[in-house]
């Protein structure tokens, strides 16, 4: 439908109305499931022949798209990977080796939580995209305006996400999995520049590789175990049947590629070339969350196994290395990308431990990360539209230049690392789960990683908070449709801070009960909740209080101290010849020590070795 409509008011209207109706449905479904305590809806669709044929056709179609574009851009390796992934699965389906008779759909608490995330955050991003793409093409005249196609892809993507979350049949999950891979490939390549094409193919081959892993897992599950759905696979007790770890490991491997862990994180960095809504969508709500969603599903199986240990090591290592790398980059979106990778590493590590606290922390992290990160991406996109730069250094004094956006940005960044906000609470639970599972290396990765996380966020925050004298306010050209997306997300962060004990009780605990098939004690204690509430309250009371108490009203305003030669605006000084010179203090990036050229290659090599070792030992050891 979007393909037909020209860029117009009508299109925006349809997108907004359609988006909100999807969101409303998602919220309704989510709340209904959450309010029904402990009921899992397994749906077996009897007449699935038609749907199965559609899915098969879809898989062939996806393969054809990959074929066509690979030949067009002469990247033949993608064809190979696509063939390896798709053909065996098709053969299995056609030759009747696929198992029938299990539930196709399943809506449980974890699905409900994910539906809420995708429904709210994903749709808000789509709405944001309507306004954004107009500005984007206004600034980038060299890129052909295909924004209808772009919007359509975004909605297809979100649709695939919903499909993936509610499916229980492995074949269906595989189909949606491949849709997201190909969609992200098309989104990244949107601008059709050489860089975009290269990056999109990198994303494609990495994700197809993961898809191959998933495909093989699917085959093993079907043909060896006679199981066609995920919930049954995860209910096998691994100690009784070691061979079950083979499909689990392969699926975990696929999850690693999807959630961009080292050594597969370069596709996520490359995804930066695409317009902002797609990076927001890829990074916050959908693409990368599929991987960790899958890991959380598998998490009870991973506890105490070799695969689990390896997954946690990769996750912990990614958390640490990516946060060091994030220090060295000044491109706002790149900082966000590295921070995404590092946070996903943490989620992966949490899920890999397989403990209840680990899953609790992982689910919490997914929730908070989705909201904060999509907000940050969108704000950076708006700032870029207003200032024509997304460099952190250019955000110097943003609080004066673009106060509204700066305020939103500050809340977003605080949500990522400050104490009473959600991410840190989850980190706290993560630390507890690591200590309980006795994984020393993971603890070390986490503590050193959080040190560097603090560094790169705080210096960004500092740049925004700088007040420049005699600066002027820039024109805020953020359209209202983008504000429709930004304002709810901002308020969600704040509300979630207050609501997290409730969320823990009503959203996360049921997920745990369900995953472990028993009632488990509360992860977070009562007195801690009270203390955290006090902290959140203080954050909001201090600014208001200081305003009412008129603190500092009597203070005298002076210039900043520049050794007595301040030229009057803190940005110039008078040199020894009496001339005015500009003065600017940049942040520290320490590229000589943690630069991308120094750290990226070694960390990819190290993590690649870990992944290969994991696959060889588990898959090879089973035969």
């Amino acid at each position: 439908m979007f393909l037909v409509k020209k860029a117009s008011l009508l299109r925006n209207l349809i997108a907004v109305v359609g988006g909100f109706s999807i969101m409303a449905t998602a919220i309704m479904v989510g709340i209904r499931v959450l309010s029904m305590k402990g009921v899992t809806h397994n749906t077996y669709l009897t007449n699935t022949e038609a749907i199965d044929h559609v899915i098969m056709g879809g898989e062939i179609l996806l393969m054809c798209i990959v074929f066509f574009l690979s030949i067009k851009y002469k990247k033949y390796y993608a064809i190979l990977l696509s063939l390896i992934g798709t053909v065996p699965v098709l053969w299995m389906d056609l030759s009747g080796n696929a198992v029938e008779g299990f539930a196709h759909l399943r809506v449980d608490f974890l699905s409900a939580v994910m539906i809420l995330i995708v429904g709210i955050v994903g749709i808000l991003i789509c709405i944001y995209a309507c306004g954004y793409m107009k500005d984007y093409h206004h600034h980038h005249t060299e890129v052909a305006d295909r924004s209808n196609y772009f919007l359509a892809l975004l909605f297809v993507f979100v649709g695939a996400m919903f499909g993936l979350i509610v499916s229980d049949n492995l074949g269906w999950i595989y189909f949606f999995w491949e849709i997201t891979s190909v969609c992200s490939f098309l989104l990244i390549g949107y601008t059709r520049t050489e860089e975009a094409v290269n990056n999109s193919f990198r994303a494609l081959w990495m994700n197809l590789l993961g898809g191959c892993g998933f495909g093989f897992a699917l085959m093993v599950a079907n043909m060896h175990f006679g199981i066609a759905n995920l919930s049954q696979l995860t209910s096998i007790v691994p100690r009784q049947n070691m061979f079950v770890m083979v499909p689990v490991t392969l699926m975990a491997f696929a999850a690693l590629t999807k959630s961009a862990q080292f050594p597969f994180s370069r596709w996520l960095l490359g995804a930066m070339v695409a317009p902002t809504p797609s990076s927001a969508l890829l990074h916050s709500a959908t693409m990368v969350k599929i991987g960790v969603y899958m890991l959380i599903r598998l998490s009870p199986m991973l506890k105490g196994t070799f695969t689990g240990v390896m997954i946690t090591v990769i996750g912990g290592f990614t958390f640490f290395a990516a946060s060091l790398l994030a220090i060295t980059v000044s491109d706002g979106k790149k900082v966000l990308a590295y921070s995404t990778i590092s946070n996903l590493g943490l989620i992966t590590a949490c899920a890999g431990t397989g403990t209840t606290e680990g899953v609790w922390a992982a689910t919490m992290l997914i929730l908070f990360h989705a909201v904060s990160k999509s907000l940050l991406f969108q704000t950076v996109g708006d700032i870029e539209n207003c200032m024509h730069s997304r460099d952190v250094e250019d955000m110097h004094g943003l609080i004066i230049k673009l106060p509204k956006l700066a305020f939103i940005m500050i809340i977003g960044i605080c949500g990522m690392f400050m104490a009473p906000f959600g991410m840190l609470v989850s980190k706290w639970a993560a630390l507890k789960s690591f200590v309980d599972s006795n994984s020393v290396w993971l603890v070390l990765f986490l503590v050193f990683g959080s040190g560097s996380t603090l560094f790169y966020w705080a210096k960004w925050l500092g740049k925004i908070c700088t007040v420049i004298h005699q600066s002027y306010e820039l024109e805020d050209i953020t359209p209202r449709s983008e504000m429709i997306s930004l304002v709810p997300l901002t308020s969600m962060i704040v509300v979630m801070c207050f609501a997290f004990p409730w969320m823990s009780d009503h959203m996360i605990q049921p997920v745990l009960n369900e995953a472990y098939h028993k009632n488990i004690p509360n992860v977070i204690g009562g007195s801690d909740v009270v203390i955290m509430m006090i902290m959140v309250a203080m954050i909001f009371i201090i600014p208001i209080g200081s305003r009412f108490l008129a603190i500092g009203k009597k203070s005298k305003m002076t210039m900043s101290y520049v050794a007595g030669v301040n030229a009057g605006d803190d940005r110039h000084y008078i040199d020894s010849f009496g001339k005015e010179r500009p003065l600017y203090m940049s942040n520290w990036y320490m590229t000589d020590y943690f630069g991308e050229d120094k750290l990226l290659a070694p960390s990819i090599v190290i993590s690649a070795i870990i992944v290969i070792v994991m696959l060889i030992i588990v898959v090879g050891g089973a035969f």
């Binding site: 400050m418 705080a458 210096k459 700088t466």
Partner: protein, 288 residues
């Protein structure tokens, strides 16, 4: 409950007095080490009194907000600790208050403040891992993050986690802004970047900052004491003696070492943390 309130109230009232005396002692002892008579013991109080009496100059009004937030969060952190709260939460609140101070410096847009803020952030990056590890170390000892549970253990924590103590003492030098690592701001005149972090803070705000530092010092010494306190009441005396010894040791280090470059600080602190605390943790996990 009443006990907790009493403890917190005592901390809020007594900590600035104790912290000021500690700083005064530090200055007197430093002066004696250099062959000078030095200021009176109560000098820090005179300083803060003077600062409160002076006019406050600011570069912008956000600055005041951040400095006050720094003070309040530091007091909050200390209250949480002395009230027997969760160790990890204490440290998260601590890093939050530090970030407030950094933002106060950033917001001024002064070159010396900005440099001080960057250096302060680097210092935080150096000591943050160790601070979290200390909490984990205490958890290994008592099986709980709550301070209240930890003071009831059978034998002092230091027997089980001596490596943690070494690491913590190392970062204490950074935290107290003592000489090899007093990069972001320092108590001395020999500063190549004026006063760094506090360059553009004056009058009342500087007084608030000083008071917050006192609270912070008492909190840090409280954590050192935690290594020695156990069920036995005698251990409290041991802890106090240990605190005094370690505090004077920091003064000595301050007077003996010249300042290092920031990379030397980062590498040395991380190596010490990894070797001392990391090995300690590894051994504990093997023993379990």
């Amino acid at each position: 409950m009443a006990m907790t309130v009493l403890k917190v109230a005592l901390y809020i009232l007594l900590a600035p007095i104790l912290g000021g005396l500690m700083e005064g002692l530090d200055r007197v002892v430093s002066a004696r080490m250099q062959g000078r008579q030095g200021p009176p013991l109560l000098q820090p109080f005179y300083d803060v009194y003077k600062l409160l009496a002076k006019q406050t100059t600011v570069v912008n009004s956000i600055q005041i907000l951040f400095v006050i937030a720094y003070l309040i969060f530091t007091i909050f952190t200390g209250s949480l600790f002395f009230g027997g709260g969760d160790m990890l939460l204490v440290f998260f609140a601590l890093s939050m208050s530090e970030v407030m101070m950094v933002l106060a410096a950033y917001s001024t847009n002064g070159p010396y403040s900005a440099l001080g803020a960057n250096r302060e952030l680097l210092q935080m990056m150096c000591y943050e891992p160790m601070i979290l590890l200390v909490a984990i170390g205490f958890y290994e000892v008592s099986g709980s993050f709550m301070v209240n549970d930890l003071i009831k253990v059978d034998s002092p924590a230091v027997f089980k986690i001596p490596g943690m103590l070494i690491g913590f003492l190392f970062i204490l030098t950074i935290k107290f802004r003592k000489s090899p690592f007093d990069m972001s701001t320092s108590h001395h005149a020999h500063q190549e970047m004026v006063k760094g972090l506090t360059s553009d803070i004056s009058g009342n705000n500087l007084a608030f900052y000083e008071i917050a530092e006192w609270y912070d010092q008492v909190l840090m010494m409280g954590i050192v004491a935690m290594f020695f306190i156990c069920k036995n009441p005698v251990s409290i005396i041991v802890a106090i003696v240990a605190c005094v010894i370690f505090y004077l040791m920091e003064t000595l280090i301050d007077n003996v070492f010249p300042r290092v470059k920031y990379m030397a600080m980062l590498i040395s602190s991380w190596v010490v943390i990894l070797v001392a605390a990391g090995t300690n943790l590894l051994i504990l996990s093997v023993l379990d």
